[in-house]
């Protein structure tokens, strides 16, 4: 009896969020005829990749009870650094990607040290690296917009990883497969490896984790390193989807990612979360982002709506916890 209850409970939030996604889809389809197009799906997908990747990564610091605010500006910074090497130094795309990823790992680890070892408040430590990466990005790119090789140019192969164009000219959002795959891998990491297990333990009861002889500092750092790594992967997705990357942008991306994660069931106070839920949660944000202009609201409404949705979902979480405590 009891055995069946557990998975049902875990999947509950994910199922609800999935239904919300479907409801939003239906709503926009009904409300706007223009929405019902294949290109809309492509747009949604284009937006979703980098947000999903950031969200998967940031879920880990969130589950430790912290947060990573540096992922948005970090993404732009890593993309600018890699792109600069291609554009101005003639580096091959693959090598530049590796640089981007290493950059992300380094900043992530730095965050981990600031928070896990030096005990800085997570929002403050990562707010600083948020500003630092923004500055670094502009310096790396000499303050100009950077374009990774566009379709047709040599070295543009990486774009077709995300959007594959068939001989007939149909575009297939292949990236969806890859981010889904990564989400499944990280779902596994969270639930079936030591890294994930201890990430949860730190967020749930750090004291108990220390008493159990776990190297808490190391695993605390790891959570932020993962976040940095996925911000770097997101930077590649971003570079592949959009033509130009501008220095000084990126602030605000983290809200979409963190919002997606929290909608998907990651607790804002740590200790619990689901990567698959996060994956689905991001699509709520992406649908709003792409859908709102179709019903006559400017793109910037999406910022307001995202902010409210984030607060709303945290409030729902708080009410739920209060009810449970009463029981």
């Amino acid at each position: 009896m009891e055995k069946k209850k557990v998975p049902a409970k875990i999947f509950k939030q994910e199922v609800i969020v999935f239904l919300v996604v479907i409801a939003l889809l239906i709503f926009f389809c009904v409300a706007s005829p223009d929405f019902r197009k294949y290109t809309t799906i492509l747009t949604i997908m284009d937006y979703s990749y980098y947000i999903v990747l950031m969200a998967i990564g940031v879920a880990f610091p969130l589950i430790t009870g912290g947060v990573d605010l540096s992922i948005g500006t970090g993404l732009v910074c890593y993309s600018l650094a890699g792109g600069y090497l291609i554009m101005f130094k003639g580096w091959p795309t693959g090598l530049a990607m590796i640089v981007s990823i290493l950059f992300g790992l380094a900043i992530g680890t730095l965050n981990g040290i600031l928070i896990g070892v030096m005990d800085l408040p997570p929002f403050l430590g990562t707010l600083c690296t948020c500003m630092i990466t923004r500055g670094l990005g502009s310096i790396c790119s000499k303050n100009t917009g950077i374009s990774w090789p566009t379709t047709g140019q040599p070295g543009s192969w990486f774009r077709s990883i995300f959007k594959y164009e068939t001989a007939g000219g149909t575009k297939i959002p292949l990236g969806f497969l890859w981010v889904l795959l990564l989400a499944i891998i990280m779902h596994f990491v969270l639930n079936h490896t030591k890294i994930g297990r201890y990430t949860i333990a730190i967020g749930s009861n750090k004291e108990a984790a220390i008493l159990s002889g776990i190297n808490v500092k190391f695993y605390h750092i790891m959570a932020y390193t993962i976040s940095g790594l996925f911000a770097a992967l997101a930077s590649i997705a971003y570079s592949a989807v959009f033509k130009t990357v501008l220095p000084g942008t990126g602030a605000g991306f983290e809200l979409e990612a963190i919002g997606g994660a929290i909608i998907g069931g990651v607790s804002a106070t740590g200790g619990a979360g689901s990567i698959i839920g996060t994956f689905i949660g991001v699509f709520v944000i992406c649908l709003l982002k792409t859908g709102l202009p179709f019903i006559g609201l400017q793109a910037n409404w999406q910022q307001i709506v995202t902010g409210l949705v984030l607060i709303g979902s945290v409030m729902v979480d708080i009410i739920k916890k209060k009810r449970e405590a009463k029981k």
């Binding site: 596994f188 009861n205 108990a208 008493l211």
Partner: protein, 498 residues
């Protein structure tokens, strides 16, 4: 019972100002359940903390399995086979039962944690203990009792040879206690040495083979449970000389009006159907053992925690108290047992803490009248004889007794007529204690009414005009001071076999 597995000899341990353990002897045999008893503060927990490496002893020897040992951490003790099941649980609520039991030493299959095997192993452990818990349940979904079982399973999974249970039954229901006893008996069968710390006399009789009693950090004696009566044990526990004069007669006028009346107060498991009256100028002692629900009762009356039901009357008028604000408005002040957390703001000065509850009366228009504030603080520093260089001193720099006086000053400043003193002298040295006592008596004679929660028998006997005794969230008795003896209190405070 087999041979001796663990022997502690002449253990001595001092903390600044306290001689916590004074030449204590203690031994456990294989296949024995050995009770460790004593009043709060008798040194039971300290002794066990010395054993498991949380504290280092000043002198004495520990012999375990024939060899002299000294552990420096719980981890070392664990590895050697001595584990402790704490009263407070150390569990990661979001993980499953099996994941908690094996945390820090997970089974792995490549990089993957082998949850299946962990579940199987946990199941085996539970089978061995005859417990029915699903290892895949999330820890926070279990009842406290079941969580306790998991702690025990975790302890046993360390290949334990000696298990210390520190008040394991405090949070358990009747049925759960039955299960616990079954487990303990099984463990005894398996030739483990078991130390059982408890206040509950009935349990001691049911489950243990021998009883060692401690008092004031000293070893008093060891009895064979079967051959001794409850009275024997109680006498050993309380048999200390009382240096302070106990009160022999209530100082309250016969016709003193009732200032506070509490009726059928309920707030969770620790506060069940509590009713009592407090008279003007009375010191009403609340006695009971740790976990009897006295602090919870006080907090519920004060509005610090939500209550489920019950009426409170102040001076005959019904009052609604849903928050400390309401309580203060009704003239009730609460001095918490944990001053640092709930009483004072350490980074603020004596003067600022004094007016904390009554700041609106120290305003000059929009601004705080700091002159008046200092004056009133000075007045209380003088009248309470608080030792502080000035009223501008940060409270963090004062000693415990003087911090307590600052908290008292806070409520006197607010002019509360009903004061709840929760363990007023905890962590305070003897001299300062006497001052606090004198102060309380003075307050009572001036017409303030005091509820005093205390775990110290002598304090209760010396200060109270009347004593309410609680046990496990219920009021078990009420004694006029004339009829009160330590034995009577102890009998009411410990549960009898029904």
């Amino acid at each position: 019972m087999g041979e001796v597995i663990l022997e502690m000899k002449k253990i001595d341990k001092s903390f600044p100002g306290v001689h916590a353990l004074n030449n204590v002897d203690f031994e456990v045999k294989r296949g024995e359940v050995h009770a460790l008893m004593g009043e709060n503060g008798a040194g039971k927990s300290t002794l066990m903390k010395v054993l498991t490496g949380i504290y280092t002893k000043d002198s004495g020897t520990i012999i375990y399995e024939g060899k002299e040992v000294e552990f420096h951490s719980t981890r070392e003790a664990q590895d050697a086979g001595i584990v402790i099941v704490h009263q407070e649980l150390n569990m990661v609520g979001h993980l499953t039962v099996a994941q908690n039991i094996f945390i820090g030493r997970e089974f792995k299959k490549g990089i993957r944690i082998d949850d299946k095997k962990m579940n199987e192993e946990a199941k085996k452990l539970f089978d061995r203990l005859n417990i029915d818990i699903d290892p895949t349940m999330t820890m926070s979904d279990l009842t406290v009792g079941k969580q306790q079982m998991c702690e025990i399973a975790k302890a046993i999974s360390h290949d334990a040879k000696v298990i210390v249970f520190d008040e394991p039954s405090a949070a358990l229901t009747e049925a759960e206690i039955e299960d616990l006893f079954k487990i303990i008996r099984d463990l005894r069968e398996q030739q483990m040495g078991i130390v059982y710390i408890s206040h509950r006399m009935d349990e001691i009789k049911v489950i243990t083979d021998r009883v060692t009693v401690m008092r004031d950090g000293c070893y008093v004696g060891t009895l064979i449970t079967e051959e001794s009566t409850k009275d024997d044990i109680v006498n050993m526990m309380v048999g200390r000389v009382i240096y302070e004069e106990p009160k022999t007669q209530s100082q309250v006028a016969k016709d003193a009006p009732v200032v506070l009346k509490v009726e059928h107060l309920n707030a969770g498991r620790m506060v069940q159907d509590i009713s009592f009256e407090l008279h003007k100028g009375e010191i009403l002692g609340f006695s009971g053992l740790m976990g009897a629900g006295r602090t919870e009762t006080a907090r519920a009356i004060f509005g610090a925690d939500p209550k489920e039901s019950g009426e409170i009357y102040v001076n005959g008028q019904p009052v609604t108290i849903n928050s400390p604000e309401d309580a203060v408005r009704a003239g009730i002040g609460y001095l918490s047992e944990d001053r640092k957390r709930f009483g004072i703001v350490v980074q603020k000065t004596v003067a600022e803490n004094t007016t904390m509850a009554d700041l609106p009366n120290y305003m000059k228009g929009l601004f705080i009248d700091k002159k008046k504030e200092r004056e009133v603080a000075k007045k209380f520093v003088d009248s309470l004889a608080t030792k502080t260089p000035s009223v501008d001193q940060m409270v963090i720099n004062l000693s415990g007794g003087n911090q307590q006086k600052v908290v008292i000053a806070k409520w006197l400043c607010k002019n509360c007529d009903i004061l709840i003193f929760d363990e007023p002298t905890r962590g305070i040295d003897v001299g300062a204690k006497n001052e606090i006592y004198k102060l309380m008596n003075k307050l009572a004679s001036e017409g303030k009414s005091i509820i005093m929660i205390s775990s110290e028998m002598t304090e209760i006997l010396r200060m109270s005009d009347r004593v309410v005794v609680m046990c496990e969230g219920r009021k078990t008795g009420e004694l006029m001071i004339e009829d009160t003896t330590q034995e009577k209190i102890m009998n009411l405070a410990t549960r009898d076999i029904n």
